[in-house]
């Protein structure tokens, strides 16, 4: 516009109005042009500014009206070049308006923002990763550590240290927790196995403090012996089992390892800190319900346990030494040594949080009792030997019963939970696939309309159907997902709200594993299943093509059958 405008105000008014007209929705732009055209007649700068201000208000109103108009049309409609040529096959636009589609999608999104929705999403995502911590889990834990630093919350630091997947960073958090509350020194012992890359060279300091704070606990000395390390024993044991070579290796092991093992066998108590760890995990999880259960449960599941190889090597060494003592006539010393071995086995069996740990204890007890039996038989104490034999038999029965009961319990949990887990995974995957399909369809319709996608073939028809039915199906799949996740959420809530027994905690672990195993995508990693799915998909496509071909065949013209007399008459004509 070349209207001379002398004052700054007039120029500002004119420039603003000119800009606004350029942005004006096309359907009502002429009214903006009308307002702009009048500005050449207004000489007074304030009046020009007021006129332009009115024009801008009109523009805002036009934009709002345009948005309402746009949202009430189906996806892909409302652009000047969105009109499709007539006569195309299939649907051209979805049946429902953008507003209806958006409302259903919004309702679905609300489901995922509910606490149960967030928890279900986090849990299933974690199960897809095999409960390995994600970057988002790390960020979450870092945030909690920062908050713990602000509040000087030692237990929160301890929780982060026990849950953090990277050993170096976890060690820093553990140091901070123990610095704030030295009573928490036990967390060092708990996190050592979970964080596989634990640097044992720095363990001397905390082991010393741990031993000072809990001097009667056998577990502390077992961890310390593990830290002292005797890889030779482990290698020989792995290769030969409890053979003479292993015993020999244990005998020649360095003094520190043997001394720590000895202290462990003599210690009057055994506490694997599982209860404390469980309580800390419960507290930590309660604070952030959206935390990946993998961080909590797998941390507990993979906590430190007595090393079975080392413990067996030392037990065999003890039995061998006791038998030598017995043969030399020092029966009392032999009995004391074997008694320590048997008692530690019984304590581990009693306190052991998992069947595996209990099995370590039972194995240790059996070794001790077998040592006693050999000692008494060698010394001709047949009565004592028979008594030990009876104990061994009772223990055998107990072991079998435990194994039986555990396997039955586990199978009950697995079979009872499998279908629920399949429902959770299937609905989660369906929801995800529907979300992707809806996003792609809407994008294709809108972006296609904006860029002049004028084809109205099968692709467009599919996009229209997905835009029409997809959101409702997505809502339904999401509702099923949350409904099927409800029992799991209840179990999590029970775990967080009250102290669960070890068996219940184990149940939680197994359910998480079953949930992870129920992920159908897991099976897709196998080449056989990839071929199978590929074949099914190709067969389905071939069938669709064939059916379409059959149904689209041109109709065969109807043959007029004539009688012989009529045919002859027609031929004569």
């Amino acid at each position: 516009m070349t209207v001379p405008q002398s004052s700054l105000l007039s120029r500002v008014a004119l420039t603003s109005m000119d800009l606004v007209v350029r942005l004006w929705p096309e359907s009502s732009r002429r009214w903006g042009q009308a307002v702009l055209a009048e500005m050449g007649e207004i000489s007074e700068p304030r009046a020009a500014l007021s006129w332009a201000a009115g024009g801008i208000l009109l523009f805002i109103r036009a934009v709002v009206e345009h948005i309402f108009e746009w949202i009430s049309l189906p996806a892909g409609k409302g652009f000047p070049n969105a009109a499709l040529p007539a006569g195309g096959s299939g649907r051209q636009f979805p049946k429902h308006s953008r507003l209806a589609t958006a409302a259903v999608l919004l309702a679905t999104a609300v489901l995922f923002f509910l606490p149960i929705g967030r928890e279900a999403t986090v849990t299933v995502k974690a199960s897809w990763r095999g409960y390995v911590a994600s970057d988002s889990d790390r960020r979450n834990l870092e945030k909690r550590a920062a908050q713990a630093e602000k509040e000087k919350d030692a237990r929160e630091f301890a929780f982060v240290a026990l849950s953090y997947p990277d050993p170096g960073r976890a060690a820093q958090f553990a140091d901070r927790a123990v610095a704030l509350d030295p009573e928490l020194v036990w967390i060092y012992a708990c996190r050592s196995r979970y964080q596989g890359g634990e640097d044992w060279t720095n363990s001397a300091g905390w082991l010393k403090r741990l031993k000072a704070s809990d001097p009667d606990n056998a577990f502390v000395y077992l961890v310390s012996a593990y830290a002292a390390g005797e890889p030779g024993i482990e290698k020989i044991e792995t290769k030969h089992g409890g053979t003479g070579q292993a015993i020999g290796a244990a005998e020649t092991a360095d003094g520190e390892w043997a001394a720590e093992m000895d202290r462990a066998f003599r210690a009057p108590n055994y506490d694997n800190y599982f209860e404390r760890h469980k309580e800390l995990a419960r507290e930590g999880w309660k604070k952030t319900t959206g935390l990946s259960p993998g961080l909590v449960a797998i941390g507990l599941w993979s906590r430190t346990m007595p090393d079975p190889v080392q413990i067996r090597a030392h037990a065999d060494l003890r039995v061998s030494q006791a038998l030598r003592e017995g043969a030399a006539g020092n029966v009392k010393e032999a009995e004391t040594s074997l008694g320590e071995l048997t008692r530690l086995g019984k304590r581990i069996t009693a306190v052991g949080a998992t069947p595996f740990e209990q099995a370590i204890g039972l194995g240790l007890t059996r070794r001790g009792l077998e040592g006693f039996e050999k000692l008494y038989l060698t010394n001709g104490q047949t009565n004592e030997a028979s008594e030990i034999e009876a104990q061994l038999q009772a223990m055998e029965t107990d072991t079998n019963e435990r194994a039986h009961s555990y396997l039955g319990w586990r199978s009950q949990i697995v079979s009872g939970f499998r279908w629920r887990a399949v429902a959770v995974q299937a609905s989660a995957i369906s929801s995800l696939m529907l979300a992707v399909a809806i996003a792609l369809s809407l994008l294709a319709l809108e972006a296609g309309a904006a860029s002049g996608w004028r084809r109205s073939g099968v692709g467009r028809s599919i996009a229209c159907r997905v835009a029409d039915y997809g959101p409702v199906l997505f809502l339904a799949a999401s509702a099923v997902f949350l409904w099927s996740f409800q029992p799991i959420a209840k179990i999590f809530e029970q775990y967080r709200s009250a102290g669960q027994s070890n068996t219940e905690t184990m149940g939680l672990f197994w359910q998480l594993f079953v949930l992870g195993d129920a992920n159908p995508l897991l099976y897709f990693y196998k080449p056989y299943h990839q071929w199978l799915v590929g074949t099914i998909v190709l067969t389905a496509i071939a069938l669709i093509v064939l059916l379409r071909g059959l149904t689209r065949q041109k109709p065969v013209p109807k043959i007029q059958w004539k009688s012989g007399r009529r045919r002859r008459r027609a031929e004569a004509n």
Binding site: R30, W31, A34, A37, E38, W51, A53, G55, R61
Partner: protein
């Protein structure tokens, strides 16, 4: 006719202005000056009148060089009758009275 109009005092004032020289074409700024309505109020009423079918519009055919063509407005024949009726009714109910100098 088209959509039903909400006859506010501003709409009545505009109808009154359009009836001053009912067969002549009026432009927006002149109507604004006559009625005292700001552009943000005036144009939505014009838009509604056009949409309801009472108002006709046209663009200036030979604009002043260097200026964009102006937009002109006037009431259609049936629009004029309707406007007179509405103004009369509004005057009767004392909802509205014409500007000074007009009856």
């Amino acid at each position: 006719m088209g959509i039903r109009l909400r006859l506010s005092k501003q709409t009545l004032a505009l109808l009154d202005a359009l009836l001053v020289h009912p067969t002549q074409w009026h432009h927006g700024y002149a109507l604004s000056q006559h009625t005292g309505l700001a552009s943000g109020t005036l144009y939505p009423i014009l838009m509604r009148l056009e949409k309801s079918g009472w108002l006709e519009t046209r663009w200036e055919e030979a604009p002043v060089p260097g200026r964009p063509p102006r937009h002109f407005y006037r009431l259609k024949r049936e629009g004029r009758e309707w406007a007179r009726e509405e103004l009369g009714a509004a005057q009767e109910t004392k909802f509205w009275k014409p500007a000074q100098g007009r009856v």
